[in-house]
């Protein structure tokens, strides 16, 4: 069983590793704030990433829209 939540560490197949710092469930998606803990930047990525799990589509996507990122970060801060 996998359990994606705060405090868990995931690895992508390009060898980059991320700590899940926060997660928030929205209407049909769950967002995850990831901190790169690889000690090196991979591709053109930054230290912090956001991915979302789209429940109806059953898949993870990288969130790149800056307004979407901003909105989710605001909600994460509001709930803390």
């Amino acid at each position: 069983m996998k359990d994606y939540k705060r405090g868990k560490i995931i690895r992508l197949n390009d060898d980059s590793e991320y700590l899940i710092c926060d997660n928030v469930l929205m209407k049909n998606e769950e967002y995850f704030l990831l901190l790169n803990i690889s000690g090196k930047m991979v591709n053109d990525y930054t230290e912090i990433l956001m991915m979302k799990y789209d429940y109806p589509k059953s898949r993870f996507e990288l969130v790149k829209d800056s307004n979407e990122v901003k909105d989710i970060l605001t909600r994460m801060v509001d709930n803390s």
Binding site: M1, K2, Y4, K5, K8, I9, L12, K27, M51, N79
Partner: protein, 301 residues
């Protein structure tokens, strides 16, 4: 709150690129005593998110959807919905203050007595249960609001509006209903584990525990791995392990208790009694340790 999967390999898409995600573990916070407060603060956050993002969001969708089919929500119903979410937020805040108060007043550290440490964790377990109770109420409200939402969407669709869009919406709502149901099951499982932890630590002989942190960490780390139907057996296994530790003089170790649970289950299936299980665990355990030592020594040379 956290997404749970089966054994399916998960992928992350980034435009044309696809990455494979592997879960490799947990942030190494070994101390379950410290973790008990962090867990509560996480649960506070989850509860707030469920009220403000999920429940409020679905309620407002329902108001819009019912207006579209000409069934406006009466003012008093809107006020009731608003009051209910505000009450949940106040309740969460009150419990959060309690968690912080327990943390601030007790000032438990490694030099505190076993009874002081025990009092602290039992207070945090109680707060955890209060937060889970709120979460269960909120989740039930969300399930009801989602069900109403599906009925409204269906009515709107039956009136001939945007069949395709509404079908997708209904499909998504069904998937989310399952997800909320999973969360209800998870919260109930957590409550059952908390009750077992409280029962065990309320009756344990604190004078016999040499290292409270090791003991607590081992118990909690082990119970976290259990399913609903294994909780009571787990407590029995742990007590047997406690006997094993007493007899063979080992310290409590979270990794060891996991190995012991496996040996216990295997042994029981083979019809072994507890003495035999403990003896063979002792033997296996020390054989492994001896082998590791031998390997280490040969590398050194």
């Amino acid at each position: 709150m956290g997404l749970t999967f089966g054994n399916k390999q998960e992928e992350l898409t980034d435009g044309d690129k696809t990455y494979i995600i592997t879960e490799i573990g947990k942030e190494p916070i070994e101390d379950e005593i410290d973790d008990s407060l962090i867990d509560n603060l996480d649960l506070v956050k989850d509860n707030r998110s469920l009220v403000s993002d999920s429940l409020k969001g679905i309620n407002s969708d329902n108001i819009i959807e019912s207006e579209l089919i000409g069934q406006e929500y009466p003012e008093e119903v809107r006020v009731e919905m608003e009051d209910a979410t505000n009450d949940y937020m106040k309740e969460i805040e009150t419990i959060e203050e309690q968690a912080a108060l327990v943390d601030a007043h007790d000032e438990v550290d490694e030099n505190s007595s076993n009874s002081k440490k025990n009092e602290y964790v039992l207070a945090q377990v109680d707060i955890n249960n209060q937060l889970l109770d709120v979460q269960l109420e909120v989740l039930q409200d969300i399930v009801e609001a989602r069900t109403t939402n599906m009925e409204l969407v269906q009515k709107h669709m039956d009136l001939g509006y945007d069949k395709e869009g509404h079908e997708i919406e209904l499909e998504s709502a069904k998937i989310m209903l399952d997800e909320y149901q999973n969360r209800i099951d998870e919260a109930n499982l957590e409550k059952a584990k908390n009750s077992m932890i409280a029962e065990h630590f309320n009756s344990v002989d604190l004078d016999k525990i040499e290292n409270y942190e090791q003991y607590f960490n081992a118990y909690v780390t082990g119970i976290e791995e259990m399913d609903q139907n294994e909780i009571e057996t787990y407590d029995e296994i742990f007590t047997q392990y406690e006997n094993f530790v007493e007899k063979y003089g080992n310290g409590f170790n979270t990794q060891e208790i996991k190995t012991y649970i496996k040996s216990y289950k295997d042994g029981k299936e083979k019809g072994k009694d507890i003495e035999e299980i403990n003896d063979s665990f002792f033997e296996d355990h020390y054989t492994v340790q001896a082998n590791e030592l031998e390997e280490y020594n040969s590398e050194e040379r």
